[in-house]
Symmetry: C2
């Protein structure tokens, strides 16, 4: 992705790279700034800012529109903002029972979202990856139709992704092991020099929540067939020391409980995962996943005892696991995402009751249980957002490569 | 503690405060530096460094000895180091069944450690605080005997301590609630302007481990009657968002398990805490705590089945809880501290077995189970060290107050 720039010596290139990111960050944080205001905020000279802004405009990252709204003497400079026609981030999520894609512009605003339901456990990994590649291709075609180009591809996965390599080490619910995701995707669709950024779906979902204006300290719980957690502390995602954190679904909540595909017993997923709830509620596991969830919610709204009991029970077990998380990390907020966002009205009560009973600090430092504004679309959106954030963090690499 | 310095304007005082900390940090990190070398490392002028070093020497924080070992031209400057006669940190730990104190010099080296065993659950809080104050007084007398003065008092507590106020909100094993620790201590012993720094014992123990050269990313488990965890990520203690984190002892490992004084069921402490192990091993709970632990270890060394089974069982439950921690945080190392340091040979096996079985990343990112080098003395030592670190972080406040 980084190409050399033979005209400038190494030191100068490093400085320009740093300064370009600084300028773009200022424009992203406060759309409408003039060049002079960017200079004031960044501490760079006006000449440097002008030169960098020109480079960023030529690279399609920054647009100017009319004069900046400014008081005081002097000519009003043009208002700068991230270009809506700039590179877009493409996100694809390989869920256990669906594929989702999302296209966002440089500001992170979604330009399109698609979901295709299919049980990815019943096909070999290669076939699922073929379909994922097809979804990426469709998303690239959509970007072309909109007249924009893609700037990177984020890939959300229901498993443990190695931070340095992007290798999916294990996805228990899919039964997948050691798949080099960037290589697998590039082998199926021509991505040229576009960066591919694989990551855990729960982490991407937590990031999407943060970027959509979520709180600063929280645990975001992605409830699907698997259950994952994204930990955000002081506005920063903590993925674990080596990138393998957030495996809430395999918390041991009932040592004598049912067996889990991971090999252990009594994992939270087996007691509070989507399929466990549907099964206990008596919803036949036939049809598309969203239909099953719709059916469960219909039964909950109708006050059907089996559905109410199954969901309350899931809330109880979720509360047991999250009480451990809060006892360990002292996070003040839990955000329910994925399918749990839709089940929030029935889950939150029993969950909060367990937190009150088990969290040591609950009486003087209560824990809020919020509902994700994004729900099931969060992971693909977070993956797309990550691709865009990578450009904002290092615009020179993008401009060079373009 | 911070006193004003009317001679210098506010801006200058802030700068000097910052620079004094910078200079002292450089000397602490690399003992033996000359003034010129400190200037090079900090980027400050030699004149500024000389002036600050003189101030720090007058305040008793820095000592010089002979010429610094240096090559190259020019006069050799005197070698600077933290003064061994400088202010000492005093740590006191109020354990569930003991009181411990520790005196450390500016480098964190212990100059004295004392433990006094007594069941602090059988007396009212006021009486225990009287004895703790007595221990602090004895420690201050020892400092006077050594010809050094105290620079601050760290207080390690077996409960949840509010970060801003130093109030002990709850200590379940003592049955204590809402005690303003600094006020309680100052009411009993004349501490003048000495800062009092209360904190959770497991966190202080984890810090002592870090300062003694422990790894950079780990969970330190303090196993006493209660069980606490100190989380160190990238060389920094994470105490939780509001300071109430690390409550490993109340992880729910067996939902049908025994009741806990905290009000919940099946907490780890009830299954793997020191008293639970002693009881299951058949050791009569009479005598001093260290005698009970000695007796357990004697039985373990003799291969007595009840003792072996009880300890292995504790290791198993500890492994269940720590698997959750590793699944959540992906920490590569667990350090067994407190009484667990002595029980390591019998606990580590069953514990590691559970980690291998339950941690999702165990097969490709194994978890080490280490034994604390400090054991039961860690918390008091960490508390004393914290008092010293506070001086190193802001030497001007200390010099001003002195």
């Amino acid at each position: 992705m980084t190409s050399s720039h033979p005209a400038a010596p190494a030191g100068q290139r490093t400085v320009r790279r740093h300064n370009a990111a600084l300028v773009l960050r200022a424009i992203a944080d406060t759309p409408g700034l003039s060049r002079a205001e960017v200079a004031t905020r960044t501490g760079l000279t006006k000449a440097t800012v002008s030169s960098l802004v020109e480079r960023l405009m030529n690279g399609g990252l920054v647009a100017e529109a009319g004069p900046a709204p400014r008081n005081g003497p002097g000519r009003r400079g043009a208002a700068l903002s991230l270009s809506p026609a700039g590179p877009h981030g493409l996100g694809v999520e390989i869920g256990v029972d669906y594929l989702a894609t999302c296209l966002v512009d440089l500001t992170g605003t979604p330009r399109g979202q698609w979901v295709s339901e299919a049980d990815n456990r019943t096909e070999p990994a290669a076939a699922v990856l073929d379909r994922a590649a097809g979804a990426v291709r469709a998303c690239l075609a959509e970007a072309a139709r909109l007249g924009v180009r893609a700037g990177g591809v984020g890939v959300a996965l229901p498993g443990l992704v190695e931070a340095g390599t992007g290798t999916l080490r294990v996805a228990p619910n899919l039964g997948w092991h050691d798949i080099d995701i960037p290589a697998a995707l590039r082998a199926r669709v021509d991505l040229g020099t576009l960066p591919v950024l694989p990551g855990n779906e729960a982490n991407f979902a937590a990031l999407a929540e943060l970027w959509a204006g979520g709180p600063h300290d929280y645990v975001h719980v992605s409830g699907e067939i698997g259950i994952g957690a994204g930990i955000v502390i002081d506005g920063t995602l903590f993925e674990g020391v080596r990138g393998f954190g957030g495996e809430l679904g395999h918390f041991a909540v009932d040592p004598g409980g049912p067996e889990c595909p991971c090999g252990a017993r009594g994992c939270l997923e087996r007691l509070a995962g989507q399929e466990a709830v549907l099964r206990r509620a008596g919803v036949p596991l036939e049809g598309r996943p969203s239909q099953l969830l719709d059916e469960l919610i219909r039964r909950l709204e109708a006050g059907q005892p089996a559905a109410l009991e199954a969901t309350a029970d899931a809330g109880h077990w979720l509360g047991v696991a999250l009480a451990d998380v809060v006892n360990l990390l002292d996070v003040p907020t839990v955000v329910l995402g994925g399918a749990y966002a839709r089940l929030h009205p029935w889950l939150a009560g029993p969950l909060a009751e367990r937190l009150r009973a088990r969290v040591m600090s609950a009486s003087f430092a209560p824990v809020r249980v919020l509902r994700s504004a994004l729900g099931g679309e969060a992971a693909a959106r977070g993956a797309a957002g990550a691709a865009v954030r990578a450009i904002l963090a290092d615009p020179e690499s993008f401009v060079d490569a373009g």
